[in-house]
Symmetry: none
Subunit: 218 residues, 4 copies
DNA sequence: TATGAATGAGTCTTCATTCAT
DNA sequence: TATGAATGAAGACTCATTCAT
């Protein structure tokens, strides 16, 4: 009997989780095609197959759906980038990892990427925006912590963290956006080497400082 | 009497133009603080001092206001960048001009920049989005036309146009966004040289190709 | 085994009855603070500790809870008043009993009294209202039956029954309401004698019949 | 032209005021038949002939309609009672005026009276309830100020103000309610003398004390 | 009997837009 | 041209009630 009840509960949990995913999935699709504002709960309901009540049982409001989508997506992005960076040991490898992962996520989850770039913050109220900002700051700090040692060893120029990200992520992000909007007709992943090399070069410390180290890692 | 009527007309034109500007100004401010969707015509009315009727005399709809703001802003951005680029003769100068102008516009018209980056396309319907895309394409083509000769002369690597922009504008755009969102605490203009140098280096043609040419642009 | 099952049944009955009381208690509290309409079953659930299902096991609907509260309260009020009146033999004692009991119930069960006075009938549909009216009519008849003999003996004036109640209960009810709403800062029970005397005097038959008293005030 | 525009404005004001009255009238009717909660804006719209937008142009919310109805009605009641009381010079005349006016208003504006008694406070939130209470307190003070001199002259017993009202208004209010609910089949106005006399007697100072006032009542 | 997730009809309210003056 | 009251379609959300477990 215990196992039955446990099974029941588990099965219900699974059903709930599936429904949750269905709703988020439907919402993401609609948000992307029409924007968050213009998307109606009725559309989400119809597209997800859930009832109005179910949706509100699982999410407090439409904004919470948008917010959940953004936060979960952001976390996935952050996690993947940090994991990829940590898998590398050399400065160059890490820089390349950032660029490559950004493009890889873009290609593998274009919907999510579009949402994060284009819609995510558009409708955020002050409080939510602050939360996003905090999450971003935490990510930036974690990421910079991976690069800091290389800066201290003189392998990378000593620049303000945000400038780092601009030099490293900026081009990749721009290209990703272009691709997502249909402007860039090629596979963004084919540009990884070019972008990674550009990023790497732009972070090299000024000439004189570079001497002591004979060869940088390939 | 003719002159009076002319004066009258002129004065009316001036008044109309001023009112138009007031409305756009108020709308931009509100759109930025709250997003386009959440902003109501009533708020625009109150903030601009115009009456509901006046607003609808000057603009067909709320969307048209958002659209006007976006298009006029985009045009201003495009014009400034192209003008700055054309003022330079050398490849390096032109690359630098793109970077510097982007940051300059950001600093001088942060509201406009935020709007263009963050909100502009979020709520656009398919048709409007297509129009934006066309405008962007025209700009891209004009800009690329300025660089093409340098490519042909072997001064710049031969890359797909969008990749160019990603390498040149990407870092500046990223830094601008960071600054606009309060993440980058320094003056973005101080980073022009770093970003311009990075952009320049990333566009250099592969080594072997670079030799034959006796003088690189300064 | 029989006794066990009996015990079980009894215990269940007790548990059920307790739960019923908890629900009614929680509901009364909420109804009073917010009104019946604005109170949600969810609030009743949370405040009573019962589950939604349990509540619907014990009550057909929210209206039934409100109705039960009203009817049970009304019956308690009626019963107490009638009992107190019947305990007295003299006309004066009975008049006084009505006044005193009304105030006593008010002070002892202020929540119930407030509910009966303020909320009870506000949301009642036609059918329910009719039921309430019938209950009230029955009470009025029972109560009047206690006074009728005194009227016939010439101890009390011969007035329409409702006018009786207005003269007897009216002031006490008014004072009770004032007290319940925080307007009357003293103990209502201290006013019993004044109110009872006023009621008594107002019910005395006209002068000539009364013998001793010569002139009423103009 | 000025006059035309003035006329236009005036005419608009009249139209607006009429519409306002129509809405309030329709709402009062519905509130009384069904209660405030169950009445929908759609019903008010249909009954008043106004459009949804118009209603919300004139009133912020359904609650504001209910509130307006209550406050305006309460003010009318207060004003009438105070005016009638002030029109009298003698203590007895004033007591009688309170009783008579209460019943008169009941008979002349039964809907309003029912609303004030039965529904008015049922759905009030804390803030609104406080406002009602303040209005009532002001009225009570004004009314008591009319009686105070008589108390000081020893014509009326010295009782707490609320007790006064209970003795004076209580019976009339009770009878009015009975009549409104169909329990009292006679014309309430015919009972004015009985109620007024009862009220008057109940307020007389204790016998001995009534002449020179040696001791205040215990 | 007990539970609480699911349901969906029904509400209030908003707001872009129109139009009589 | 200017005004702002009026419009009503459309949307987010609530909540009493049901029902599978």
């Amino acid at each position: 009997m215990t196992s039955m009840s446990t099974n029941g509960r588990v099965r219900r949990h699974e059903a709930t989780a599936r429904r949750r995913r269905e709703i988020l999935h439907a919402a993401l699709d609609l948000f992307l095609r029409q924007g968050v504002g213009p998307t109606t709960m009725e559309q989400i309901r119809a597209a997800s197959g859930a009832s109005t009540g179910s949706i509100y049982h699982l999410f407090r409001s439409k904004d919470e759906i948008a917010h959940t989508l953004f936060v979960e997506g952001m976390r996935r992005y952050h996690d993947r980038v940090l994991a990829a960076v940590r898998r590398q040991r050399t400065a160059r490898g890490r820089i390349r990892a950032v660029v490559a992962t950004h493009l890889r996520i873009t290609v593998e989850e274009p919907e999510l990427s579009l949402y994060l770039t284009r819609l995510g913050m558009a409708d955020a109220d002050a409080e939510t925006a602050a939360e996003y900002r905090a999450a971003h700051a935490a990510f930036a700090q974690d990421l910079y912590a991976c690069l800091r040692p290389h800066v201290e060893r003189g392998e990378l120029a000593d620049l303000p963290p945000e400038l780092y990200f601009s030099l490293v992520v900026g081009p990749a992000a721009h290209l990703a956006r272009s691709w997502l909007r249909g402007r860039y007709p090629h596979n963004p992943l084919a540009a990884v080497e070019i972008l990674a090399r550009a990023a790497w070069q732009s972070l090299l410390p000024p000439r004189r400082a570079r001497r002591p180290r004979p060869r940088s890692a390939s």
